[in-house]
Point group: C2
Chain length 244, copies 2
Amino acid sequence: MSERFFLAAPPADGRAALEGDEARHLARVLRAKVGDAIVVFDGRGDAWPARVATIARDRVGLEVGPPLARAAPPLPLTLAVALPKGDRQKWLVEKLTELGCARLVPLVTTRGVAEATPAAVERLARGVIEACKQCGRATLLEIAPPATLAGVLAERDPDTLSLVADPTGEPLGPLLARHAGAVLALVGPEGGFTTEELATATAAGCRRVAVAPHILRVETAAIALAAGVQAASAVHALPRERLS
Amino acid sequence: MSERFFLAAPPADGRAALEGDEARHLARVLRAKVGDAIVVFDGRGDAWPARVATIARDRVGLEVGPPLARAAPPLPLTLAVALPKGDRQKWLVEKLTELGCARLVPLVTTRGVAEATPAAVERLARGVIEACKQCGRATLLEIAPPATLAGVLAERDPDTLSLVADPTGEPLGPLLARHAGAVLALVGPEGGFTTEELATATAAGCRRVAVAPHILRVETAAIALAAGVQAASAVHALPRERLS
């Protein structure tokens, strides 16, 4: 067994424990036995090989080995997204986790269709752990508290490239090709940002970008932004002469 | 009403008709009346304004105006994908349509989990029309007949950039940044391509590319490849001096 499990608390003295959903997944779904080998990760970039030492109701005790090589940090990308409804939320989080996005802010907008209730945010956070286990990512996608456009814009670092998805904007690729640092991208609800919201974003320095020449669904725009930043980050990591 | 509908047969003498699902959607779901204005598209890049002239069971007659401006062609991207199961197929097609991919080939692989039966291909084609109606795309994503790796590789144009998704490959971004033409990208099943399949692809000139530093689900890799090609195409369309 080389399945990966999320540790809510880091190992101490070579021991750790899985609790709650993680313990149930290992003990009941996968029917682990004492001595089985797994990998555990703390969601902050560290991972360890481990062996099952004890199995109790809702708790699996582990003996933990020396840490594995630390994973590369996630992309310096914050996506502030007016959450879509139902399954599309689950998809959004799964794909952003797989594609290396660092942070998702549920964006409160005038035309938003889904409220980021504490239960919804908890469901998103659980989806992040599931996706990390599946894709091998060691650092959780951070699910930030819900925020308004003004709130998200106020807390940016000064050298962040700020983008707002807009079907009438300029193409995404060239902007990313010219910028190697942190990116904040805003994605509005199905009905789009209001004129006032777009004006707030552009007045605060956001560039309006069209991700594709069509009207994209909320989660498509967000996923394509993450994929675009992921592809561009590898270009920026190369010495310039290799690009010619 | 400015909803968009797919025309199976092009207009003739200023008249056209919606049939089957399209007629039922307009007449029964949207309860159209004679005189209502819609837009129709033929899936080959042309679209027309139209008015409802007659409503019968499973057939809506239309009066069609002069053609609208022809849309830009889709990205010169063929994705050959070992189809995932269930809803993930539907998502794949919806997202590839929104992101402008030209052609999807259901790829027959050793470890594939979903067979591209005629019913499945028909379902995918229906999903393409739905997505085109929603996102405003005028040219259908072509769903090609299922093919093997050897079949797909044999039918390429000679100057196509051929990629095979592989978590141990080189980063995607720099390759796309250096290539402005047609792209063929192969995405294997959940269990990955076999060693023999990867060898066949690389022997035929495919570059192994890692889309992100994680193990991606089939549909995530395919969607991220489409997003990457879409972003790169806008870079290539710019005069070089604007990139500095």
